[in-house]
Amino acid sequence: MSSRRSRSRQSGVSAITDDQINDLVSKLHQLLPEIRNRRSDTVSAAKVLQETCNYIRSLHREVGDLSDRLSELLATAEINNAQAEIIRSLLM
Protein backbone atom coordinates (compact mmCIF):
# COMPACT_ATOMS: atom_id res chain seq x y z
CA MET A 1 0.00 0.00 0.00
CA SER A 2 1.04 3.61 -0.27
CA SER A 3 1.53 3.83 3.51
CA ARG A 4 3.95 0.92 3.48
CA ARG A 5 5.83 2.49 0.60
CA SER A 6 6.10 5.81 2.37
CA ARG A 7 7.21 4.04 5.58
CA SER A 8 9.99 2.16 3.80
CA ARG A 9 11.09 5.33 2.06
CA GLN A 10 11.13 7.09 5.40
CA SER A 11 13.31 4.39 7.00
CA GLY A 12 15.64 4.43 3.96
CA VAL A 13 16.20 8.18 4.32
CA SER A 14 16.64 8.05 8.11
CA ALA A 15 19.23 5.20 7.90
CA ILE A 16 21.46 7.46 5.82
CA THR A 17 21.20 10.53 7.99
CA ASP A 18 20.75 9.02 11.46
CA ASP A 19 24.25 9.92 12.59
CA GLN A 20 23.88 13.40 11.20
CA ILE A 21 20.65 13.86 13.11
CA ASN A 22 22.32 12.71 16.33
CA ASP A 23 25.15 15.09 15.63
CA LEU A 24 22.76 18.00 15.21
CA VAL A 25 20.90 17.04 18.38
CA SER A 26 24.12 17.00 20.38
CA LYS A 27 25.10 20.39 18.91
CA LEU A 28 21.76 21.79 20.00
CA HIS A 29 22.26 20.26 23.40
CA GLN A 30 25.54 22.14 23.76
CA LEU A 31 23.86 25.41 22.90
CA LEU A 32 21.22 25.16 25.56
CA PRO A 33 21.82 26.99 28.83
CA GLU A 34 21.16 24.07 31.11
CA ILE A 35 23.55 22.23 33.40
CA ARG A 36 25.79 20.52 30.92
CA ASN A 37 27.53 18.19 33.32
CA ARG A 38 24.72 15.81 33.83
CA ARG A 39 23.68 13.63 30.91
CA SER A 40 26.41 14.93 28.68
CA ASP A 41 26.83 11.57 26.94
CA THR A 42 23.25 10.32 26.97
CA VAL A 43 21.24 12.94 25.23
CA SER A 44 17.55 12.29 25.00
CA ALA A 45 16.22 13.81 21.81
CA ALA A 46 12.85 14.57 23.34
CA LYS A 47 14.44 16.47 26.21
CA VAL A 48 16.71 18.43 23.87
CA LEU A 49 13.76 19.39 21.70
CA GLN A 50 11.76 20.49 24.72
CA GLU A 51 14.62 22.57 26.08
CA THR A 52 15.19 24.06 22.62
CA CYS A 53 11.58 25.15 22.38
CA ASN A 54 11.72 26.69 25.84
CA TYR A 55 14.96 28.46 25.00
CA ILE A 56 13.61 29.91 21.77
CA ARG A 57 10.52 31.09 23.59
CA SER A 58 12.62 32.79 26.25
CA LEU A 59 14.77 34.46 23.58
CA HIS A 60 11.63 35.74 21.85
CA ARG A 61 10.38 37.09 25.16
CA GLU A 62 13.69 38.83 25.78
CA VAL A 63 13.58 40.49 22.37
CA GLY A 64 10.09 41.73 23.21
CA ASP A 65 11.20 43.09 26.57
CA LEU A 66 14.20 44.80 25.02
CA SER A 67 11.97 46.35 22.38
CA ASP A 68 9.82 47.70 25.22
CA ARG A 69 12.82 49.21 26.95
CA LEU A 70 14.21 50.67 23.77
CA SER A 71 10.82 52.11 22.91
CA GLU A 72 10.93 54.08 26.15
CA LEU A 73 14.57 55.03 25.87
CA LEU A 74 14.54 56.11 22.25
CA ALA A 75 11.36 58.13 22.71
CA THR A 76 13.19 61.34 23.43
CA ALA A 77 16.02 60.96 20.95
CA GLU A 78 15.42 60.62 17.24
CA ILE A 79 18.03 58.77 15.35
CA ASN A 80 19.46 60.93 12.61
CA ASN A 81 22.38 60.07 10.37
CA ALA A 82 25.09 61.41 12.62
CA GLN A 83 23.81 59.50 15.63
CA ALA A 84 23.51 56.36 13.57
CA GLU A 85 27.17 56.61 12.66
CA ILE A 86 28.12 57.14 16.27
CA ILE A 87 26.06 54.22 17.48
CA ARG A 88 27.64 51.99 14.89
CA SER A 89 31.17 53.00 15.70
CA LEU A 90 30.52 52.76 19.43
CA LEU A 91 28.99 49.37 19.63
CA MET A 92 31.17 47.67 17.12
Binding site: Q50, T52, L70
Partner: protein
Protein backbone atom coordinates in the same frame (compact mmCIF):
# COMPACT_ATOMS: atom_id res chain seq x y z
CA UNK B 1 35.03 33.44 16.07
CA UNK B 2 34.67 36.13 13.48
CA UNK B 3 31.36 34.94 12.08
CA UNK B 4 29.17 36.06 15.03
CA UNK B 5 30.80 39.49 15.21
CA UNK B 6 30.39 40.15 11.48
CA UNK B 7 26.81 39.02 11.79
CA UNK B 8 26.32 41.43 14.70
CA UNK B 9 27.84 44.27 12.70
CA UNK B 10 25.61 43.59 9.73
CA UNK B 11 22.61 43.28 12.00
CA UNK B 12 23.37 46.56 13.73
CA UNK B 13 23.85 48.39 10.43
CA UNK B 14 20.57 47.21 9.05
CA UNK B 15 18.71 47.67 12.30
CA UNK B 16 19.82 51.28 12.69
CA UNK B 17 18.81 51.86 9.08
CA UNK B 18 15.40 50.45 9.87
CA UNK B 19 15.07 52.61 12.98
CA UNK B 20 15.98 55.68 10.97
CA UNK B 21 13.32 54.86 8.41
CA UNK B 22 10.76 54.35 11.19
CA UNK B 23 11.69 57.60 12.84
CA UNK B 24 11.51 59.62 9.67
CA UNK B 25 8.13 58.31 8.56
CA UNK B 26 6.02 58.96 11.65
CA UNK B 27 7.24 61.50 14.13
CA UNK B 28 4.61 61.00 16.79
CA UNK B 29 4.25 57.32 17.38
CA UNK B 30 2.58 55.79 20.36
CA UNK B 31 4.60 53.62 22.70
CA UNK B 32 3.19 50.40 21.27
CA UNK B 33 3.72 51.50 17.68
CA UNK B 34 7.31 52.36 18.41
CA UNK B 35 7.84 49.04 20.15
CA UNK B 36 6.40 47.17 17.19
CA UNK B 37 8.57 49.18 14.79
CA UNK B 38 11.70 48.50 16.82
CA UNK B 39 10.96 44.80 17.03
CA UNK B 40 10.05 44.56 13.37
CA UNK B 41 13.18 46.35 12.18
CA UNK B 42 15.24 44.13 14.49
CA UNK B 43 13.72 40.97 13.02
CA UNK B 44 14.06 42.19 9.43
CA UNK B 45 17.65 43.22 10.11
CA UNK B 46 18.41 39.82 11.60
CA UNK B 47 17.09 38.09 8.50
CA UNK B 48 18.82 40.57 6.17
CA UNK B 49 22.14 40.08 7.93
CA UNK B 50 21.92 36.42 6.99
CA UNK B 51 21.63 37.54 3.37
CA UNK B 52 18.51 35.36 3.17
CA UNK B 53 20.61 32.26 2.77
CA UNK B 54 18.68 30.34 5.41
CA UNK B 55 15.11 29.18 5.15
CA UNK B 56 14.04 30.83 8.39
CA UNK B 57 15.27 34.25 7.27
CA UNK B 58 13.19 34.11 4.10
CA UNK B 59 10.16 32.86 6.01
CA UNK B 60 10.57 35.63 8.58
CA UNK B 61 10.40 38.28 5.87
CA UNK B 62 7.43 36.54 4.26
CA UNK B 63 5.54 36.48 7.57
CA UNK B 64 6.45 40.08 8.30
CA UNK B 65 5.18 41.35 4.98
CA UNK B 66 1.81 39.62 5.35
CA UNK B 67 0.38 42.58 7.20
CA UNK B 68 -0.03 45.68 5.09
CA UNK B 69 1.29 48.22 7.56
CA UNK B 70 4.44 46.18 8.12
CA UNK B 71 4.92 45.56 4.42
CA UNK B 72 5.81 49.17 3.66
CA UNK B 73 8.50 49.28 6.32
CA UNK B 74 9.92 45.93 5.23
CA UNK B 75 10.04 47.07 1.64
CA UNK B 76 11.79 50.31 2.57
CA UNK B 77 14.43 48.55 4.60
CA UNK B 78 15.12 45.84 2.06
CA UNK B 79 14.90 47.94 -1.06
CA UNK B 80 15.51 45.89 -4.18
CA UNK B 81 15.99 42.67 -2.19
CA UNK B 82 12.30 42.65 -1.43
CA UNK B 83 11.23 41.89 -4.99
CA UNK B 84 13.79 39.14 -5.37
CA UNK B 85 12.57 37.49 -2.19
CA UNK B 86 8.94 37.68 -3.20
CA UNK B 87 9.59 35.67 -6.32
CA UNK B 88 11.50 32.92 -4.53
CA UNK B 89 9.03 32.50 -1.68
CA UNK B 90 6.08 31.46 -3.80
CA UNK B 91 7.40 27.93 -4.29
CA UNK B 92 7.76 27.17 -0.58
CA UNK B 93 4.04 27.58 0.15
CA UNK B 94 3.13 24.55 -1.96
CA UNK B 95 5.01 22.13 0.31
CA UNK B 96 2.82 22.87 3.34
CA UNK B 97 -0.29 21.00 2.30
CA UNK B 98 1.57 17.89 1.22
CA UNK B 99 3.54 17.67 4.47
CA UNK B 100 0.42 18.08 6.62
CA UNK B 101 -1.48 15.20 5.06
CA UNK B 102 1.58 12.94 5.36
CA UNK B 103 1.80 13.83 9.05
CA UNK B 104 -1.81 12.82 9.70
CA UNK B 105 -1.27 9.49 7.94
CA UNK B 106 1.93 8.79 9.90
CA UNK B 107 0.27 9.65 13.22
CA UNK B 108 -2.67 7.32 12.62
CA UNK B 109 -0.26 4.50 11.65
CA UNK B 110 1.74 5.03 14.86
CA UNK B 111 -1.37 4.81 17.03
CA UNK B 112 -2.39 1.53 15.40
CA UNK B 113 1.10 0.13 15.90
CA UNK B 114 1.15 1.07 19.60
CA UNK B 115 -2.15 -0.66 20.26
CA UNK B 116 -1.20 -3.92 18.58
CA UNK B 117 2.32 -4.45 20.05
CA UNK B 118 1.85 -4.56 23.81
CA UNK B 119 5.38 -5.28 25.15
CA UNK B 120 6.63 -2.59 27.55
CA UNK B 121 9.92 -1.94 25.81
CA UNK B 122 8.29 -1.33 22.48
CA UNK B 123 5.71 0.84 24.19
CA UNK B 124 8.40 2.94 25.87
CA UNK B 125 10.24 3.57 22.64
CA UNK B 126 6.97 4.38 20.90
CA UNK B 127 6.19 6.89 23.63
CA UNK B 128 9.63 8.37 23.19
CA UNK B 129 9.06 8.60 19.45
CA UNK B 130 5.68 10.16 20.04
CA UNK B 131 7.22 12.74 22.35
CA UNK B 132 9.89 13.56 19.80
CA UNK B 133 7.26 13.95 17.12
CA UNK B 134 5.10 16.21 19.27
CA UNK B 135 7.98 18.38 20.31
CA UNK B 136 9.21 18.58 16.74
CA UNK B 137 5.81 19.98 15.86
CA UNK B 138 6.11 22.61 18.58
CA UNK B 139 9.57 23.52 17.32
CA UNK B 140 8.20 23.83 13.81
CA UNK B 141 5.79 26.40 15.12
CA UNK B 142 8.54 28.41 16.77
CA UNK B 143 11.10 28.57 13.99
CA UNK B 144 9.89 30.76 11.12
CA UNK B 145 9.09 28.68 8.08
CA UNK B 146 9.46 25.47 10.06
CA UNK B 147 6.19 23.92 8.95
CA UNK B 148 7.49 23.00 5.53
CA UNK B 149 10.77 21.45 6.63
CA UNK B 150 11.82 17.88 7.18
CA UNK B 151 13.40 16.96 10.52
CA UNK B 152 16.99 17.25 9.39
CA UNK B 153 16.63 20.73 7.88
CA UNK B 154 14.55 21.78 10.85
CA UNK B 155 17.37 20.95 13.23
CA UNK B 156 19.93 22.74 11.09
CA UNK B 157 17.74 25.81 10.78
CA UNK B 158 17.05 25.76 14.52
CA UNK B 159 20.76 25.81 15.31
CA UNK B 160 21.32 28.76 13.03
CA UNK B 161 18.20 30.53 14.26
CA UNK B 162 19.26 30.24 17.90
CA UNK B 163 22.73 31.62 17.10
CA UNK B 164 21.17 34.60 15.32
CA UNK B 165 18.63 35.22 18.07
CA UNK B 166 21.38 35.30 20.66
CA UNK B 167 23.35 37.81 18.59
CA UNK B 168 20.24 39.91 18.15
CA UNK B 169 19.57 39.92 21.89
CA UNK B 170 23.19 40.83 22.59
CA UNK B 171 23.21 43.83 20.26
CA UNK B 172 19.83 45.04 21.52
CA UNK B 173 21.01 44.76 25.11
CA UNK B 174 24.08 46.83 24.39
CA UNK B 175 22.07 49.55 22.71
CA UNK B 176 19.57 49.60 25.54
CA UNK B 177 22.32 49.84 28.10
CA UNK B 178 24.11 52.59 26.21
CA UNK B 179 20.99 54.68 25.70
CA UNK B 180 19.97 54.15 29.29
CA UNK B 181 23.24 55.58 30.47
CA UNK B 182 23.23 58.45 28.04
CA UNK B 183 19.62 59.24 28.93
CA UNK B 184 20.49 59.27 32.60
CA UNK B 185 23.35 61.67 32.01
CA UNK B 186 21.16 63.74 29.79
CA UNK B 187 18.47 63.96 32.42
CA UNK B 188 21.00 64.98 35.01
CA UNK B 189 22.40 67.57 32.67
CA UNK B 190 19.00 69.04 31.94
CA UNK B 191 18.15 69.07 35.63
CA UNK B 192 21.28 71.07 36.29
CA UNK B 193 20.54 73.38 33.41
CA UNK B 194 17.08 74.09 34.69
CA UNK B 195 18.38 74.97 38.11
CA UNK B 196 21.09 77.16 36.77
CA UNK B 197 19.85 78.80 33.63
CA UNK B 198 21.65 82.05 34.10
CA UNK B 199 25.13 80.83 34.61
CA UNK B 200 24.76 78.30 31.83
CA UNK B 201 27.21 76.07 33.35
CA UNK B 202 26.93 72.41 33.25
CA UNK B 203 29.07 69.46 33.71
CA UNK B 204 29.51 66.55 31.47
CA UNK B 205 30.29 63.18 32.66
CA UNK B 206 30.98 60.34 30.42
CA UNK B 207 31.75 56.87 31.50
CA UNK B 208 33.51 54.12 29.81
CA UNK B 209 31.27 51.17 30.28
CA UNK B 210 32.90 47.86 29.60
CA UNK B 211 34.28 48.13 26.13
CA UNK B 212 32.38 51.12 24.85
CA UNK B 213 32.05 54.75 25.88
CA UNK B 214 28.78 56.55 25.84
CA UNK B 215 28.02 59.84 24.28
CA UNK B 216 25.76 62.61 25.29
CA UNK B 217 23.95 65.09 23.22
CA UNK B 218 23.60 68.46 24.81
CA UNK B 219 22.99 72.01 23.94
CA UNK B 220 25.07 74.95 24.95
CA UNK B 221 22.49 77.58 25.65
CA UNK B 222 24.71 80.60 25.19
CA UNK B 223 25.96 79.55 21.84
CA UNK B 224 22.92 77.67 20.62
CA UNK B 225 25.06 74.99 19.23
CA UNK B 226 24.39 71.35 19.42
CA UNK B 227 27.19 68.94 19.56
CA UNK B 228 28.30 65.55 20.60
CA UNK B 229 30.69 64.96 23.40
CA UNK B 230 33.12 62.34 22.39
CA UNK B 231 35.23 61.70 25.36
CA UNK B 232 36.16 63.43 28.54
CA UNK B 233 38.18 62.77 31.60
CA UNK B 234 36.10 61.59 34.42
CA UNK B 235 37.09 64.37 36.72
CA UNK B 236 37.72 67.36 34.48
CA UNK B 237 35.57 69.29 32.16
CA UNK B 238 37.64 68.89 29.07
CA UNK B 239 35.42 68.19 26.21
CA UNK B 240 35.78 67.51 22.59
CA UNK B 241 32.70 68.75 20.93
CA UNK B 242 32.10 68.43 17.26
CA UNK B 243 29.10 69.07 15.16
Amino acid sequence: MSAPSTFKKEFLKKWVLGLQICGSSTKNMSFLERKKAIKLSADVAMAYAKDFKTCWSRALIANASKQDDNKILVRNILGSEFERLKKSSIGSKMCNKRVRSKKILKRSCTILRIRSTATRRVLASSIAKRLVKERTLVLKGLVPGGESMDEFSLLKETLDYIHSLRAQVDVMQRLAYASQLSNLQLMNTFANMKNDMRTMKFTFVTCVVGSFPTRIQARKLDQHTRGYVERSNLSGNELIIFE
